[in-house]
């Protein structure tokens, strides 16, 4: 049997760190990168007698997420203790939610693949619950000992659990990317994967199509989309190989090693902890009144789906363009700012530039759009000059490069400054173009003859010569027209 006889089943658990200023159960700061244990309060280090107090900001972010995915925000949810011993878990238990999570259900639509093969799919979510993060064990800095840094202990997390709806690593990555974009879109998580603000665990199994679910193995702590893809691909192949060799899959937790590209077992089901969950008696049930939900609803930003529809309807963009421009909050914000400066009539041109030259340049420079050296107002200034025929698209690329390099200054009229300073204004004076055309015809008799002999290619060469002679500034449409009339005449 071959690999195509197997169906892959993937569910994701994502830990999104909520971007509150203070921790979920204490007033200590959540800022990243402080000296070890400088952001650990009495509550975070679990001194005797201390008690947790729930951060309303964390709850509010959970509500925002629930509303964004069309889930039920539970009117009453319960914090529970997950008991286990580990040095970076100061209380000996993690406060989480178990039987009654704050967000229940919901769904996210993802777009998988590129071009003609792209398709949309809806991934159902099981739940999302609030919990606290643990600290960190530092095994490298101390000889024969481990250090404990509790700065991260008590950082608020939203654990987002999907149904096992995904059927390939590509779908898993598309889902993770969509979720990543969404939590940043609704501003509940900074999404910084290097700093661990967005971590994925993947539950992977394989089965015969239509058959019962296979035994799953959970890959822990994948902190990049690339690792997520690699880890799933390796794991899937490993499971298929194991099964085809007559082996069995044992339920287990595995780790992905980015250096080898392999997954290896961390613990089997037999070693699994009995977490002895029970409701935390230090915290009352979390009651969320309808008025609170209504207020959060009122403060919600326009969501990607709605924005996409609006781009199609009001701006006349294609569905593909609208999807691309709403793939992340930053791109959408940049595009909207560009359109609002350039005018709605130029939306399509703005879209082309944001998705085309700007995206390519950012990609080359490995920059985020928020850090683009060309700001939306400057790009709008450029787009306007294309639209009013001051410059051609080709010259515009040259102007854009100049803007990128800071020529033209930081003001919105930077494009005009570059055009003026470099004399790039398009020549539309027919007389001036005619003069150039005549010079070119005189100097390229061979091409003229070829054209007259029926070689259309020779015409293009002549256009190129005219454009070159005008340093690219001649209006291409006029050049065409004049050239044709001269040759035809």
């Amino acid at each position: 049997m071959s690999r195509t006889d197997w169906e892959v089943v993937i569910g994701l658990e994502v830990h999104a760190q909520l971007n509150t200023a203070s921790k979920i159960f204490s007033a200590a700061s959540t800022a990243f990168g402080a000296e070890a244990n400088r952001q650990a309060s009495a509550v975070d280090i679990a001194l005797p007698g201390v008690l947790p107090v729930l951060n309303r900001g964390a709850v509010e972010r959970a509500i925002r997420f629930g509303l964004a995915i069309g889930a039920t925000v539970a009117p009453r949810s319960v914090f529970a203790r997950k008991n286990y011993f580990y040095p970076d878990l100061p209380k000996g238990y993690q406060i989480s939610q178990f039987e009654l999570p704050v967000v229940q259900g919901g769904a996210i639509t993802i777009r998988v693949g590129e071009g003609d093969k792209a398709y949309e799919k809806t991934v159902t979510l099981t739940r999302a619950h609030l919990e606290e993060d643990a600290g960190k064990s530092l095994h490298e800095d101390f000889h024969g000992m481990s250090g404990i840094d509790l700065n991260r202990a008590g950082t608020p997390l939203l654990e987002i659990v999907s149904e096992p709806d995904m059927r390939s690593s590509a779908e898993a990555v598309a889902y993770a990317r969509a979720l990543h974009a969404l939590v940043r879109w609704i501003d509940i998580c900074d999404g910084n994967m290097q700093e661990g603000s967005f971590r994925c665990d993947a539950n992977v199994s394989v089965r015969r199509p239509g058959g019962p679910l296979g035994t799953r193995r959970e890959i822990k702590n994948l902190n990049s989309f690339r690792f997520l893809q690699q880890a799933i691909d390796f794991e899937v192949q490993w499971q298929i190989d194991t099964l085809e060799d007559g082996g069995k899959i044992q339920q287990a937790t595995v780790l992905f090693d980015p250096d080898t590209g392999e997954t290896r077992m961390m613990r089997s089901k037999e070693d699994a902890h009995d977490y002895r969950y029970f409701p935390d008696p230090d915290l009352l049930p979390l009651v969320i009144e309808p008025a609170w939900i209504a207020r959060v609803q009122g403060e919600m930003p326009e969501l990607p789906g709605a924005m996409k529809a609006r781009f199609v309807e009001q701006l006349g963009l294609s569905a593909y363009d609208a999807t691309t421009l709403t793939a992340s909050k930053e791109v959408a914000e940049y595009f909207q700012a560009t359109v609002s400066a350039a005018g709605q009539a130029l939306a399509k041109l703005c879209a082309n530039w944001v998705m085309g030259d700007l995206a390519a340049r950012l990609n080359k420079a490995e920059l985020d759009i928020a850090d683009s050296p060309v700001d939306p107002a400057q790009l709008a200034g450029l787009v306007r000059r294309i639209a009013d025929n001051t410059i051609s698209n080709n010259i515009a690329r040259k102007v854009f490069e100049a803007l990128w390099n800071g020529e033209g200054g930081t003001e919105a009229d930077a494009a005009d400054r570059v055009i003026d300073a470099q004399g790039l204004k398009q020549v539309t004076d027919s007389g001036a173009i005619e003069a150039i055309v005549e010079e070119v015809l005189a100097a390229n008799q061979k091409s003229v003859e070829e054209f007259r002999a029926g070689k259309e290619k020779a015409f293009n060469a002549l256009v190129g010569q005219v454009m070159k002679a005008s340093k690219g500034k001649a209006n291409p449409a006029q050049v065409n027209e004049i050239l044709r009339s001269k040759l035809g005449g």
């Binding site: 001194l47 007698g49 008690l51 002895r276 008696p281």
Partner: protein
Amino acid sequence: MINAPLSELRRALDARQISAVELATLFLDRIDAANPALNAFITVDREGALAAAHAADERIAAGRAGPLTGIPLAHKDVFCTEGVLTTCGSKMLGNFVSPYDAHVVTLLKNAGAVGLGKTNMDEFAMGSSNENSHFGPARNPWDTARIPGGSSGGSAVAVAARLAPIATGTDTGGSVRQPAAMTGVTGIKPTYGVCSRYGMVAYASSLDQAGAFGASAADCAALLTAMAGFDERDSTSLERPAEDYARDLDKPLTGLRIGLPKEFFGPGMADDVRAAVDAALAEYRKLGATTVEVSLPNAKLAIPAYYVIAPAEASSNLSRFDGVRYGHRAAEYGDLADMYQKSRAQGFGAEVKRRILVGTYVLSHGYYDAYYLKAQKLRRLIAQDFQAAFQHCDVIAGPTSPTTAWAIGEKSEDPVQMYLSDIYTIAVNLAGLPGLSHPAGFGAGDLPVGLQLIGDYFAEGRLLNAAHRFQQATDWHTRRPAAFA
């Protein structure tokens, strides 16, 4: 001065007949003299007490004294006190100096009260005799061969032997009321949530509540008034306006309906306790109260329910004592698991280990429903019983403990016998109700007997009022153990 009620101490301090420093010194000297025999204090903080007394004197001189300014008191060693050892009666915390004050401690410091030291207790408040203290048992001043009750034994002893006029305690299953009864003092545990638990080392979070010891209901009222109040750092703290628990002390008892649960008057109560309780109830009737029989049919389930819920919470609450960040760590160990095992095996005493094991068991996968959830259901039934009873009465009365103080070592071999001594007090914690114990006479061997009063939620004022009127008409609460006069 040693035996004076708080009201008299207040007058003497305000009239400058005695300074706060002199008063503190008086009690500190008594502690030094009596503590070797009674073992009531784990830590005596003479330096801190004198500094606080000095500050109180300045405050009194400036005319800014409050009701407790300059009044000496003792804290159960379960309350965190900044810069002073907080051991919780355990080797595990034998070296633990808290960097912060419990909320109750802060309130009393702000009131100008003078903390003399930290009192002995059963380890992590688990016990009914104070024999589970790592620092040895506190002894009953009425007979030092006997237990003083627990877990707040040291605080009860301190007040009974007048080593402190008032003391704080905590009550999870009777730990204020039972030792109060055993040592002949008054003790009150308020409604769950009235006092902040912030800074109280947790035993069973859903049951733990701070309480007050005093020689009289009036003294308890003054202390409780200063201890109570909302604290945003405790999510189970109740947001209610401040209350003066002394305001109704003098109200006549005419028309007060006292419910007598028939389940509290059955077999199991010692004859001498029954005689004293009956006499006290007769006194209440003389004061204008009526008695009516009520029923708490599920009260018999309180002990099994408690010994599921409390150990379950304790097993989790005590997980933080792992030798990693503070407290006892084994001197030698192999790997991480070995460090945990050795540190906890060495740091915890037998009763604490027993409850951790029980609690871990009842929360385990496959047993949770049968034990923990079932116990929570019983808890609701018990609370409903009380609400039904309060349809027919204003307060409930009965014995605080089935017997008077027993000999040290008498019940140590049989934990279940020890658990049964809390049969009348535990249901009150499960329901979250306020309860009070006051002296009601003496049993065999001149050992004190306590009467327990139980009120509906927030009826602390009424309980204190009833006890106060009783104490106006009787003198049991003024009797002192002769050996520590």
